[in-house]
């Protein structure tokens, strides 16, 4: 369902995506599909323990195995300082963290931490060689939970880490596993709670969960003898990868070229480097291209999940439901190195609501588990689970409709969040109203053990740099060159925006994602920025083309450029000619004449716009809980979202449906399970239970289109916010079905039975 009429010809239609045919016929080249002459196969030797000192690594037996060509360890990587940084979008990331995570130096910090890498002429031989690399450890006690990691008595994961106060930049005297403390405050929280007529305070926990992309990480590197380093890989961020490799390997940026292959899902988990520096070093050592791919087991144990969290939320309200005060404490597991998404959790936890008095504390805490990575709206889902569970209870206590309570408190244009920022034009209330008036919410849910839940979430979106080059072909098509790896169909949505600008059909724009030498700097595909910023760059390249094409027509006609105009229907018009009629030429006709009238034309744009706009989402879900097995079945799900302008509505719906599916998995089944020594117990798709087609119904979507006034086509990012509300929505529905509040995820059959069975309280 799409709610708005749009004044566009291409934007808002549903053309077949340009890369589609290759993907349905198996011809698309993903990272693991690279094959180069003389290629070697690399594998990673990993730590079997969660915490320990590396006493000795002996690779001599592995090197003696016929077919093995080289072994590398952290000794082959430059040692990086704690305050050396590499850029990642608008953020900087510590090279010591990156380097330490790709290959353990002195100490292993989690089970699966890389300690060595080997390459051989055959993948089976490389695998055999792993067992021949001898590593001796001095085991240390692991720290597995954030609450115990915060205790002064906890073993230190990093002896040189001191808690840093975000706002002041000051570090604590004593070392600690707490890397960072964030605090945001607005108004007078004590006075606010004193004014409240009802106060609810609840604590919530979520487990580590993985992004779960189907394609494992991979990288192929070739270090040429002139020092040129070629990388082929599946990444969300080719230019970020190039910068990070330059920092990690201390190799000039100009000598590194990253060529993106098709990428089989990322969700934030394919921004960081893992294999690329290892493959690069092995290639340098052997003079041959080296290809490395992770197994699924390695993906689980050694790439980024998102944080397990412990969140306390306290809300104060008037009897009519008006929120007057809020307090939040967010403790997020960073994994074995600093850098959880707790700052984003702090930013998002109460932002959908107008609350005059707030205090929010966030803690970034090290534990002996894999280093977390961004996962779709990083940090926001767990925060929403906490806030919107309490909102649900508040509605219940005050006997208010849950949507009405949220509408009463919804942030509107001008509302300030705790960091002081005021909202511009937003579709916050619109999403709530869309659900309120939806057939789903207005239907009656009948039957035993069934319940309905709602939740409401927020995400802020990102802008950043994008480049686009557009060359007009003589047949009236346009080749569009982009730097953003396409994960979910952004080639299509960006090409459509250029087609709209030029007034030509979408099929006439042929988009291509190219390597880092072939287009200007383009930041990460993430933060829901690609259709926004890439589309803007394509639009600007289109405007550049319009101007150049008008100038060319003027030249052909022998008139001044100012007298010629490029019309939105792709006809270039000029002043009346000798016959008295208006001169005109179509885009296609002019394209055919370019070569003979001064050469072909290229439009270009390097754009950087800081006008990304936030999005909101309201979800409603009906569930049925089986009292015998504890299984929760999703009966019906509807998601309304403020999507700005939906460029390609099918892919917007797809983003929403995909986010909901991941959120439902997070709510009901997915979790990292560790034994007492910190070894992951469920590192396979069989035991880490992601939703299948059988676990979900059709997911109804309502696209609420409130255009972003800061974008030529009104684009807001759409990809992230759909994963924000499902956790709370499902938990609230299970409460409605069973009468029990679930404050810990996942709400697995075992967890449900524990609450339902008598005598277990």
């Amino acid at each position: 369902m799409v709610t708005a009429e749009k004044p566009y010809k291409v934007v808002g239609t549903r053309p077949i995506r340009p890369d589609g045919t290759d993907k349905v016929t198996g011809r698309a080249n993903y990272g693991a599909d690279i094959r180069l002459p003389g290629m070697l196969y690399g594998r990673v030797k990993r730590s079997p323990i969660a915490h320990g000192k590396i006493k000795r690594i002996d690779a001599s037996k592995a090197l003696a195995l016929p077919g093995v060509r080289a072994v590398m360890t952290a000794e082959d990587l430059p040692r990086k300082g704690r305050r050396e940084f590499a850029p990642l979008g608008s953020v900087k990331i510590s090279l010591a963290t990156l380097s330490g995570n790709v290959m353990a130096r002195d100490k292993v910090r989690y089970e699966g931490h890389a300690v060595a890498a080997v390459c051989a002429t055959d993948p089976h031989v490389a695998e055999d060689a792993l067992d021949l690399i001898e590593v001796e450890y001095e085991e240390l006690p692991p720290v597995l939970h954030a609450d115990e990691a915060m205790l002064a008595s906890a073993p230190l994961i990093d002896e040189e880490l001191h808690t840093r106060e975000m706002a002041t930049g000051e570090s604590a005297e004593e070392p600690s596993n707490v890397a960072m403390h964030f605090v945001t405050e607005m108004g007078d929280v004590e006075a606010g709670f004193a004014e409240a007529e009802i106060v609810l305070e609840r604590s919530f926990k979520t487990k580590m969960v993985h992004q779960g992309y189907i394609e494992p990480h991979n990288a192929t590197a070739f270090w040429r003898h002139d020092g040129g380093l070629e990388i082929w890989c599946s990444t969300q961020a080719t230019f970020v990868m190039r910068d990070h490799l330059a920092g990690l390997l201390e190799h000039p940026v100009s000598k590194i070229r990253v060529t993106p292959q098709e990428i089989g899902g990322g969700f934030g988990g394919k921004i960081s480097v893992y294999l690329e520096p290892l493959a690069a070093v092995l290639s340098r050592k052997t003079g041959k291209p080296v290809k490395m791919t992770l197994t699924r087991d390695e993906v689980f144990r050694a790439t980024g999940p998102t944080s397990g969290t412990a969140i306390r939320v306290k809300l104060g309200a008037k009897r009519d439901g008006t929120l007057v005060a809020a307090e939040g404490e967010l403790v997020y597991e960073a994994g074995a190195f600093p850098g959880s998404p707790v700052a984003a959790g702090v930013r998002c936890i109460f932002t959908a609501y107008a609350i005059p008095n707030q205090r929010i504390d966030g803690y970034d805490v090290l534990v002996n588990k894999p280093k977390v990575q961004p996962y779709r709206a990083p940090g926001a889902s767990a925060a929403c689970f906490a806030t919107d569970s309490v909102m649900d209870e508040l509605a219940e206590r005050l006997d208010l409709d849950p949507i009405a309570l949220r509408l009463k408190n919804a942030a509107v244009e001008g509302t300030r969040s705790a960091d002081g920022a005021a909202f511009g034009v937003i579709g916050n209330r619109d999403c709530l109203q869309a659900i309120q008036s939806s057939p789903h919410y207005r239907s009656e849910l009948q039957g035993p053990n069934r319940g309905r839940g709602v939740a409401h979430g927020y995400w802020y979106n990102a802008g950043l740099e994008s480049s686009a080059y557009a060359s007009v072909n003589s047949d009236g098509t346009v080749a569009l060159v982009l730097g953003s790896p396409d994960i979910g169909g952004t080639r299509a949505s960006i090409a459509m925006q250029l087609a709209e600008t030029l007034g030509i059909p979408a099929e006439r724009v042929i988009p291509q994602v190219v390597d880092t030498d072939s287009v200007g700097f383009t930041s990460v595909t993430g933060g829901s920025r690609t259709a926004f910023a890439g589309g803007w760059a394509a639009h600007e390249a289109g405007l550049d083309l319009r101007q150049q094409l008008a100038a060319r027509a003027a030249k052909i006609w022998g008139v001044e450029a100012e007298q010629v105009r490029y019309r939105d229907d792709a006809v270039i018009v000029g002043p009346a000619g000798e016959d008295g009629g208006e001169r005109s030429i179509t885009f296609t006709e002019l394209a055919a004449k370019l070569a003979r009238t001064g050469g072909m034309i290229v439009g270009r744009a390097d754009s950087n716009h800081a006008s990304a706009a936030p999005t909101f989402a309201t979800h409603v879900v009906d569930v049925e809980v089986d009292p015998e097995t504890g299984k929760v079945e999703i009966l019906r799900y509807t998601a309304a979202q403020d999507v700005g302008t939906a460029i390609h509505p099918s892919y917007v719906e797809g983003q929403i449906q995909g986010g909901v599916s991941q959120g439902v998995g997070w709510a009901l089944n997915e979790e990292y399970r560790f034994d007492e020594k910190g070894r992951m117990e469920n590192a396979s798709f069989l035991d880490y239970r992601m939703p299948t087609a059988l676990d979900l119904p059709m997911i109804e979507t309502v696209l609420v289109e409130v255009p972003n006034p800061g974008h030529p086509y009104g684009v807001r990012g759409v990809g992230e916010v759909p994963i924000v509300p499902p956790l709370a929505a499902v938990a609230n529905a299970v409460h409605a079905a069973t009468g029990h509040r679930f404050t810990e995820l996942p709400i697995s059959p075992a967890a449900v039975l524990e609450k339902l069975l008598p005598g277990e309280e």
């Binding site: 979008g89 608008s90 106060e165 990322g266 990083p378 002081g420 990460v524 800081a610």
Partner: protein, 90 residues
């Protein structure tokens, strides 16, 4: 004139104020003038010649890409916030 929102932990340097009004047309000028009003605060915000890597200055709620060169329109609101990255859909 711009309105700078002071994070809770920095308010001690600004006589407890949560907002300070300062002149300036770029973020660099804003930080310099803020330091005149709240001595020592610039040292908390900057590292070398740039904003601290883990911090971001937002103009009207939006973090731009021009660092201290970012233009500040008259009447703008400046927020001092943690630098945070996005995730990624698809």
């Amino acid at each position: 004139m711009a309105r700078v929102f002071i994070p809770a932990t920095l308010r001690a340097r600004c006589d407890g104020r949560s907002e300070v009004e300062v002149e300036g047309t770029t973020l660099r000028q804003i930080v310099e003038n803020l330091d005149a009003a709240c001595p020592g605060i610039a040292a908390r915000i900057l590292e070398g010649d740039a904003v601290r890597p883990d911090l971001a200055l937002a103009v009207n709620g939006v973090v731009g890409a021009e660092g201290l060169l970012e233009r500040v329109p008259d009447g703008a609101e400046i927020q001092i916030m943690p630098a945070i990255a996005g995730g990624g859909a698809g």
